[in-house]
């Protein structure tokens, strides 16, 4: 005899990024708890899921309990684009059960919910806020615990029997793990907000999701007029890095490719470091222009200037960047807000890479990227950068990152963290003073598994871009910034 197990169908949440975090979506007929402090986004999350899924034939009942007046909740929630007022009440019906909840009689609350469920046969049910039902719950009160446990179990039983996917919303703290609803719930999603200095970062954690393998850890999310968007935490291990083709990507700066053995090996991550004004952005712009001229597609993430300023700067090069953007060959993404999470940045970049099918990516600059992150993420900048680079290289692109240094040779130190470990190649620019003149020199410090020039070369920034000149031979102590001529007669 063979038996067939039941297949649990997925319910897409309609919340960008959340299905990936949940391990594919919600389980149909699951009994879920959305927990978090007031203002953490519980109502928004529940309603976004309901508006994405409920129809007149598969309606949702939204039970409101003591708390925010229904009329105010409806007024504010309809500011979100997902709140389709035409769906009320045929697809989504708001039902106020404050009277029953206020009586403190759990049986009457249950009776009312079940009566409404029997009348409307919904596919989805939300109870907002469940916390106010059995609000006087005290873990040491055996009788009260038994009553509430019985209520929660019966509610879960009834809703599952009616083939309903349900959401209980509540202002619980993580210390309340003994509350009966935590035991009975199939899924628990925790919403929180980290406040650090002037920035606030919203985070989501899937504590439990029976029947699914959610991505562990804290995931950042945002709430905008579009509703909630979750940025799944990028697993540190991205899987095998794709084997890049045996080719070099030319930088497009005359003289530089020859120093690098023909250019950057495809799929590498190159860090270009230098002090302010040394021409890092100019070199990075050459890299983009060269790629475009060879028919490649590029993504540039700018953190330190507006896209218009960046594009104006690129006008000195023979490639028309604006035309390339219009043609879909180039994406310039501007990421300057000061409360970004690394996951939000990564998602923006990877989305852009996929959209334009890019092979070259520029991050200009790491210093700006660090500042754009919320303070809580700056503390883990090395980890953040590692995850970002891992996510990008997993797509097979070649990455050029710029970083501003002050006095740190030869390893590209900036801020307080050493980040060169994430790079395959390092190019260093610096100023030297020779004969009372400030001159610019550069050197290739590191090219993993590849021959490269080891001498310092002078370069200049001209009206048409950067040009690498001759080797700076005949000097000692270039790395000090004040070299001396090997031949004192010079």
């Amino acid at each position: 005899m063979t038996t067939a197990g039941s297949t649990i169908r997925n319910i897409a949440t309609g919340v960008p990024g959340l299905d990936a975090v949940l391990g594919g979506g919600l389980c149909e007929y699951s009994f879920n708890l959305i927990a978090g402090a007031p203002g953490s986004g519980k109502t928004t999350l529940a309603q976004q899921i309901l508006f994405a899924n409920a129809t007149a034939k598969r309606p949702a009942l939204y039970f409101t309990v003591l708390g925010e007046p229904t009329v105010k909740m409806m007024r504010y929630q309809q500011q979100f684009r997902f709140f389709d007022t035409a769906k009320v009440p045929d697809a989504i019906r708001f039902i106020n059960v404050s009277k029953e909840a206020a009586s403190g009689d759990l049986a009457s609350v249950l009776q009312r919910i079940i009566a409404e469920v029997a009348e409307h046969e919904p596919a989805f049910v939300a109870v907002d806020s469940f916390r106010t039902i059995g609000a006087s719950f005290a873990p040491n009160d055996y009788r009260a615990t038994l009553d509430l446990t019985g209520f929660v179990q019966r509610l879960a039983q009834e809703l599952t029997t009616w083939e309903i996917t349900s959401f209980l919303l509540g202002e619980y703290s993580e210390q309340e793990g003994r509350h009966p609803v935590f035991t009975v719930a199939d899924g628990i999603v925790w919403l929180s907000e980290d406040v650090d200095r002037n920035s606030a970062v919203r985070k989501l954690r899937v504590v439990k999701m029976r029947g699914r393998s959610p991505i562990p850890g804290l995931h950042t999310f945002r709430i905008t007029t579009d509703g909630m968007q979750v940025f799944p935490r990028i697993p540190e291990q991205q899987g095998d890095r794709p084997v890049p083709p045996e080719k070099r990507l030319r930088m497009g700066v005359p003289g530089l490719d020859e120093m690098m053995g023909g250019g950057i090996p495809a799929g590498d991550v190159l860090m270009l470091t230098g002090p302010a004004g040394s021409g890092k952005t100019t070199f990075a712009t050459h890299f983009v222009a060269q790629g475009l001229s060879e028919g490649e597609r590029c993504v540039v993430a700018v953190f330190e200037e507006f896209p218009d300023a960046y594009l104006a700067r690129a006008k000195t090069l023979p490639i028309d960047f604006r035309q390339e953007i219009r043609a879909g060959n180039l994406a310039v993404i501007y990421l300057r807000p000061l409360d970004l999470s690394v996951d939000a940045v990564s998602l923006e970049k990877i989305t852009a890479v996929k959209r334009v099918a890019a092979t070259r990516v520029v991050i200009d600059s790491l210093s700006g990227f660090e500042i754009a992150l919320a303070p809580t993420f700056r503390m883990d900048f090395r980890e953040s950068l590692y995850r970002l680079v891992g996510a990008l290289t997993a797509t097979g692109v070649t990455v050029l990152m710029t970083a501003e240094v002050i006095e740190a040779f030869p390893d590209g130190t900036f801020t307080t963290e050493r980040v060169s470990f994430v790079t395959d190649d390092i190019l260093v620019q610096r100023y030297v003073e020779i004969g009372g003149h400030l001159r610019k020199v550069l050197a290739v410090v590191k090219m993993r598994g590849s021959e490269h020039a080891t001498d310092f070369r002078e370069y200049s920034l001209t009206a048409t871009g950067a040009v690498v000149g001759k080797s700076l031979t005949g000097y000692h102590g270039i790395t000090t910034g004040i070299p001396t001529a090997a031949d004192p007669a010079r």
């Binding site: 007046p69 229904t70 007022t85 009440p89």
Partner: protein
């Protein structure tokens, strides 16, 4: 809404009163279901405050008990003031309610909430839906 209650074509006073009563009961029930007792009472109180002066018949159709407003004396009101006065009062009350609620949540949704009770389509079999 009045049409759905089957108002007698001959305008017979008792029949009209019953139909108006059913309509008011349904409207209040719908409002109470969505907004709760407190929300329903607050909205009705404000709508009545705006309309009672111009439509004194409304005073005889509403009842206030334990802080809750009910519109359960419509038949008595019709007997005391006549069909025309009560109908005009209820019409003005509905307009006021829609205006008040409409400013808060939008007129379309306000109308749909007050008109709950239309037959609903049967629920599809979840197993066969995409």
């Amino acid at each position: 809404m009045l049409g759905r209650e089957g108002i007698p074509g001959d305008g017979e006073q008792r029949g009209v009163g019953d139909a108006l009563q059913r309509m008011c009961a349904r409207m209040c029930c719908n409002l109470r279901d969505t907004m709760g007792d407190d929300g329903c009472t607050a909205l009705l109180a404000r709508a009545l405050a705006r309309t009672e002066a111009a439509h004194p018949a409304l005073m005889s159709i509403r009842r206030i008990s334990r802080g809750t407003i009910s519109l359960d004396r419509v038949v008595d009101g019709v007997e005391a003031h006549g069909v025309a006065a009560v109908t005009a009062g209820i019409e003005a009350l509905l307009i006021a309610l829609i205006e008040i609620l409409g400013r808060l949540i939008g007129e379309d949704m306000a109308i749909r909430i007050l008109e709950l009770g239309e037959p609903r389509p049967a629920r599809s079999n979840p197993a066969s839906s995409p």
